[in-house]
């Protein structure tokens, strides 16, 4: 009988692991204000959750965080009505797991789920400048990463070396981080103790593994992918018109990462 219990426990652990859950101890929520076009950009915003424990963090868009939870409960699926689907989409489909050594990214393109890893080698220069954000005393730090110069404010009062997106490895939680052109500006608006197991953190841990070089800047390429328009639009004139506008959007596309590393 003992062996059956052991086997059951073994398979239970395998199932939990393959679903890509995350043991949450704290949650920090961030607002991002961004401009994803270089010309005549409309200023947009999005919200993200950063799930934190002692060893790692997991970052995802709030809409997807809620959507994935509903998907796990089978309350949202691929044929749910469009107005329901729309509530849980985002310009930022990346789920990002961060440890001191690695960054793990899982995301969905228009066709499929992919994942890649990169070395977590971000190198910050600490600056002797301080400001108060909320009730926390924060120190300034600067780094060059992904083709932009980033300015961060972190607090040692929350001693976790994590932050939004792929920013980490500072001696305290990042409460604010932005690039020097202010195209992407993250600000923490909520921090709280959670203590739960998030089973829906990464529903696609079995996504297709690719090198980052292969998939980099995929969103710009997708904008002008004619197969997408051929699927849904029959009129060649309308397709041509849409693709022409897509070409302009792609030309002026301003993603958070301008370079791979």
């Amino acid at each position: 009988m003992k062996i059956y219990y052991s086997l059951f426990f073994f398979f239970f652990i395998i199932i939990i692991k393959s679903q890509g859950g995350f043991g949450v101890v704290y949650e920090a929520d961030y607002k991002l204000v961004y401009k994803n076009q270089t010309k005549n950009a409309i200023i947009q915003d999005a919200a993200f959750a950063l799930l934190i424990n002692e060893k790692e963090s997991y970052y995802k868009n709030i809409n997807q965080y809620v959507g994935d939870s509903l998907r796990l409960e089978k309350k949202l699926h691929e044929n749910s009505p469009i107005d329901e689907q729309m509530k849980y989409t985002s310009d930022f489909p990346e789920n990002i797991g961060t440890t001191t050594g690695k960054i793990y990214v899982t995301f969905k393109t228009s066709n499929d789920y992919f994942k890649y890893e990169e070395t977590n080698n971000i190198n910050w220069q600490l600056i002797n400048e301080f400001k108060t954000i909320g009730k926390y005393k924060c120190q300034k730090a600067i780094t060059k990463k992904y083709g932009r110069t980033w300015i961060a404010y972190f607090t040692k009062e929350i001693p976790f070396p994590f932050g939004p997106y792929k920013f980490s490895k500072l001696p305290g939680l990042i409460l604010e981080v932005f690039d020097d052109k202010d195209d992407y500006h993250f600000t923490m608006y909520n921090f709280r103790k959670r203590k739960y197991y998030c089973s829906s953190a990464n529903l696609h841990s079995n996504a297709k593994a690719v090198k980052k070089e292969k998939i980099f800047d995929y969103q710009r390429k997708e904008l002008t992918d004619p197969t997408l328009y051929n699927k849904f639009i029959e009129d060649p004139e309308e397709r041509r018109s849409l693709l022409k506008k897509a070409g302009n959007r792609a030309k002026n596309y301003n993603p958070i990462e301008l370079r791979i590393y």
Binding site: I82, Q85, S110, F232, E238, L242, K245
Partner: protein, 66 residues
Amino acid sequence: MKKTLLVGALFITSIVSAFPFRTSCGTVVNVTQTEGYTMEQITNFLQFVNYNECGTKPKGITIYIH
């Protein structure tokens, strides 16, 4: 700016194969083939169209059932 999309015509149980799609900045695109695609795939396409036409992805959608 109002970020609501208008979809012209739908069957009660499922989306029809063709419908006019009004973007959040007011332009209309005639979506003419949707059979065989999931709602998720159609939603994804409408988001691309809205971004190309208006520079933003929509935050919501209103569906009118005739």
